[in-house]
Amino acid sequence: MTTRELLVDVSDLTVDFGSVRAVDGLSFTLEAGGALGVVGESGSGKSASAYALLGLHRGTGARVGGTVKVAGTDVNAADDAGLRALRGAKAAMVFQDPLSSLDPYHPVADQIAEVYRVHHRASRKAARARAVEVLDRVGIPDAARRSRLRPHEFSGGMRQRALIAMALACEPRLIVADEPTTALDVTVQAQILDLLHTLRQETGMGLLLVTHDVGVAAESVDDVLVMREGREVERGPVARVLGSPREAYTKELLAAVPRVETRRVVPSQRVAEDVTPLLEAVDLRREFGRGSGKVAAVGGVSLTVHAGQTLGIVGESGSGKTTLGRMLVRLLDPTAGRLRYGGTEIGSLSEKELRPFRRELQMVFQDPVASLNPRRSVGESVADPLRAAGERDEGRVRDRVGALLERVGLDPAHFERYPHEFSGGQRQRIGIARALAAEPKVIVCDEPVSALDVTTQAQVVALLAELQRELGIGLVFIAHDLAVVRQVSDRVAVMRGGLIVEQGSADEVYGDPQDPYTKQLLAAVPALDPGLAAARRAARRELAAA
């Protein structure tokens, strides 16, 4: 057996932030040219481990223990100059948020050239030429011209390509990618993963990929390391770990991952075809801006929401799905079109006339942190809709809030606690309790689980389905994640550029997509089975060529 040179050799790594141990005795190796995926939920210590590979904890107040050897450098023992010689030249990092990870004030090529000149004796001109070369290499069209643009003039996918180009500039032997596709749309994510795959094949560099998304790992790595609470849970070839996991936690994690193949988990009530819908939108439009700057965010959308049923709205960023959701509960006024609720036209009602309907149309927001007032107790937040409805009796308010908290799976005694004392999933439950307080008939959920870990995601999705069956609420579930939408929806609408390109029952849309865009979306979803991933990759190439 030939033993290849070890590119990364980590043994007994610990990282402490104050009294919190983020990484607790982690050991792993990566051979030259190999690819390792580090998978775990938020707080599992996966990013902290990745940062330790480049010594990025130095100077931050975090304490790092154990030994980390990367491309021959002992990272924890190296001096600052030794560390700088490693960073970028032998091992390069690709960060999660490509917009904030690039300097907004300088042209993209200048930033790449700067990095190149740190590690190579080169003139400014030669460094710029190198920058254009790598930008071209990562598939930026018309790279010479675009290289002079600043990051905000790039699209999200192009920014991530630019960051990867920066990583390639000095031909490192290892790329450490920390959630490189989390901020991207699913079709763009597929492109970036394909790019990393190709680059690895062509340059023979090693890849350490940190991700919360098991599907992303399945597509891109040879080995996978599952982390939890700073420790290794399971490690092995990706097909083995994902195909036949040995540890209970890995099984639990995999079971929680939503799959596009999975149909609605909790079945809803059957609705007869001729029943009047609860909420009906006809040719709803919304424009922003004036004159030549006018943009139609939603350009004529018709849909229906039935009691006890869920309409899933899926689309990528900028498709108009949030604008549509806000119009459905009249948080935004439609520019044109009709919106009928229980037989009444509410699209053009004044704020005052709308009052009696407000209570029955509720919304659950994406970011459970930002949508709860951090300076008020959660009980007060949940009580808001009750007070707004005119309830003055303090005892009754408390009883009702307690019952609501209990209903969404929280301790009623937590009335006096503040949002920061809860986890992300619990905060989303509070958001749901607040929406329920008004006894709504329709709830529009805008990306309600996209900020949550998969295990928490599954719990919140189950809660929504349960509540729906119990209370007969009509749900609109807006999300970019195709798998989640399939899990919760009876009907699905696919949005693109402010229009619905395809609408039908979940089985129709997912099982037999008609619109090319829907097909493209479905092909971009990472497959959990590494064997399938190769087939998907081929399918994507075919679609791109077509």
């Binding site: 700088r84 948020d97 904030s100 990870s101 690039l102 004030y105």
Partner: protein
């Protein structure tokens, strides 16, 4: 860009217009007999009446204000008691006290205050931003603690204390410098600089404290941003990170504040001007307020306001130049 400038100028004219109207209103309702003040304590009622007539103080407010506006646009004539004097546009009126035209008065004072402000401005920017960058860079070390303490002391000390100390030390005790005075640049540039050195230094010391703190906190903010982390992760040295990446992001609030300070300093450097005996706009303005010399007050305030507006428009342009994401509108 052109559209932006036109809108900005239009806005400036409106602001200045409102400013003068408010000043007229305040002076009209303020207590005190202007004619008596102008004429002096020994004037007879008849003389006072004559002065009142001559200064047209009996006219209603809007008529007086109308004359003022007319003077700016078209110029106007004044009776000097013995004859008639023409004041050509843009005429800001004639001082009640000295019969001097306000426009002439301002033109005489402007270079004085301008010299003071420009030198001090350069000083406090250099000193303040430099200190701020240094203390952000050396965060948590002794350098930072000493600098923080110094800037706190600086911002807590009134200008006349620092100014007096400087005069005592450098002019009296050590006798290194001549007593501060104002010599026009056109007469003797060397004398001009030496005479203004102490006023520049005292103003710069006081003002720079504010800038040091602002720069420090803005630097710390940008140093914690993701793109700085990116360049650290690519082996870029700390010096280049500070100079090329962090400072660029930290200058925005500094530009905004310096625009305000630069403008207000034209009318607001009263203490410094008085202490060092510099005959600038601030000192003139205080004197004029004391004797209710309305034309002078309005004229000076107008000039100060003009510089504030101008400096702010310049700041917006600079800001858009520094950060290409900013769209001027």
């Amino acid at each position: 860009m052109t559209g932006f400038l036109i809108r900005r100028l239009g806005g400036a004219v409106l602001v200045l217009f409102a400013l003068t109207a408010i000043l007229y209103g305040i002076f009209y309702v303020a207590p005190g007999d202007v004619a008596q003040l102008v004429c002096g304590p020994r004037c007879s009622p008849a003389q006072v009446a004559q002065v009142t007539e001559q200064l047209r103080l009996n006219d209603p407010l809007y008529v007086q204000y109308g004359h003022f506006l007319q003077g700016i646009v078209a110029g106007r004539d004044f009776s000097t008691g013995t004859g008639v004097e023409h004041c050509s546009a843009p005429c800001l009126g004639v001082s009640y006290q000295s019969d001097q035209q306000v426009t002439q008065l301002i033109l005489a004072k402007l270079p004085v205050t301008g010299s003071l402000v420009i030198g001090a401005f350069a000083g406090w920017l250099l000193l303040g931003v430099g200190t701020g960058v240094l203390s952000a860079w050396r965060r948590g070390r002794l350098t930072e603690r000493v600098l923080t303490w110094l800037t706190l002391a600086g911002s807590a000390t009134p200008v006349f204390v620092i100014g007096l100390l400087l005069i005592i030390v450098f002019c009296s005790t050590l006798q290194w410098l001549p007593a501060p005075s104002y010599v026009p640049f056109s007469e003797d540039p060397e004398q001009w600089a030496w005479g203004l050195l102490l006023p520049w230094v005292s103003l710069a010391l006081i003002e720079s404290a504010k800038y040091a703190r602002l720069t420090r906190s803005a630097m710390l903010e940008t140093l914690a941003e993701d793109h700085v982390r990116t360049f650290r992760a690519y082996g870029v040295g700390e010096r280049a990170i500070i100079g090329r990446h962090a400072l660029r992001g930290a200058v925005a609030p500094v530009i905004a504040l310096s625009a305000l300070d630069f403008g207000t300093m034209f009318g607001g450097a009263v203490l410094t001007e008085s202490l060092f005996g510099i005959p600038g706009i601030g000192r003139e303005l205080v004197n004029a307020v004391k004797v209710v010399d309305l034309p002078v007050v309005v004229g000076m305030v107008l000039v100060t306001g003009f510089f504030v507006v101008l400096a702010n428009a310049a700041a917006d342009l600079l800001y858009a130049l520094a950060d290409r994401r900013v769209v001027l509108s």
